[in-house]
Symmetry: C2
Subunit: 202 residues, 2 copies
DNA sequence: GGACTGACAGATATTGAAATCTGTCAGTCC
DNA sequence: GGACTGACAGATTTCAATATCTGTCAGTCC
């Protein structure tokens, strides 16, 4: 008798099937075939096809979490840490988009299917941003009375460079400059050493 | 004999047909039927179906241009003018999205079909932003060495509040707060009265 | 007895023949 | 003679039959 069928093995096989056939064509029967079992066996580990896909999505997103965990290098200012984090996120997205567009599209589809998982993922990343900003507030480099709210604002302001809806622009020769311009604008907005404006706005 | 068939009349009829049937079902034959002419007549004014749709798109976008022309009220600071302009854009988009989702979706489809028209539209709006920012630089309220580049950055940073890909979030109870947070962050980034940061970032 | 199979019902997707649409143009009508 | 028509060819879409897939479960096999 072969090794026992594990959830892990099913997830690996599902990823492979998704990669080969794409999200529209990948079936539970294909996954079972790839594993050399009947498709009924797959259902002993995952209640539905949707649950199986969601597990794959969760797996993929948690890899991003690890990859993105911010490095608080002692020699770096908060602005540098923030800039590096945003750049790493952008580079990762852009690379996976340009190097394997098909797979990128596949995961985009999966992610759209399970909004709950995405929400958690986004909260996690904004949480990482919050910790970077909080560290900057601690050293009086940044100023904000609500780090979480400001982190969300930084996230929102940089959507162009991580939200897949904007992926088409990632190939443009101007993106690089636009990224720098937006990040600079945002970092300037965060800075502490600012004299109160003479003409405050409502 | 009835009035002569004009391009204008065809555009109006096309808008109506698009509204009723949606972009997928609206045909040139439908437009001709609505006008009481043969579909061959429509082709005397528009070379292809795509050209007809593009003309409708152009018409719709230029209405937005007029609506968005910024009001340089003497009593307002540049920050207030900028904030008001961004808010008006957001409110318009949000309203047309919530009040007639079907029509909003229809125009989203049309816009995706003719990328050239959109590019011009975006350039026009960023141009309006540029004039607002330039005015702020003139009064020393804002600081930038390249108003056009900065305007593009402001546009990019506020994508969440005007790009249709983010429309789903416009219904969330948090959007209002997120809009304020992003705009405040951006306006802070633009301000002139800033002491050079002690620890500049690379 | 617990992991697995495979046949099954209802739901979903595929396919190809028939219908409709796009774009053209010779001909009709003031 | 210029605005318009309507029949036409090729491209696209629709629709219904057919095939495949999802999820279940009674039964098989160590």
């Amino acid at each position: 008798m072969a090794e026992a069928l594990t959830a892990e093995a099913i997830l690996v096989a599902t990823e492979e099937v998704l990669r080969r056939y794409g999200p529209a064509k990948a079936t539970v029967v294909d996954v079972a075939k790839a594993l050399g079992v009947s498709h009924g066996s797959v259902y002993r580990h995952f209640a539905t096809k949707a649950a199986l896909r969601e597990a794959v999505t969760r797996r993929w997103l948690s890899a991003i979490h690890e990859e993105m965990t911010p490095a608080f290098d002692e020699g770096l200012t908060a602005a540098e840490t923030l800039r590096a984090w945003l750049r790493k996120l952008f580079e990762n997205k852009r690379r996976s988009h340009s190097e394997d567009l098909e797979l990128f599209t596949t995961y985009k589809t999966l992610v759209n299917e399970s909004s709950g998982v995405v929400e958690y993922h986004l909260e996690h990343l904004v949480g990482q941003l919050t910790s970077i900003i909080s560290a900057g507030v601690e050293t009086q480099e940044f100023s904000t009375d609500d780090a979480a709210r400001t982190a969300q604002a930084v996230w929102d302001a940089t959507q162009m460079f991580h939200h897949p809806a904007h992926a088409r622009q990632w190939g443009s020769p101007h993106v690089e400059d636009e990224f720098d311009a937006v990040v600079s604008l945002v970092v300037d907005g965060l800075r502490y050493n600012r004299v109160p404006s003479a003409t405050g706005d409502a």
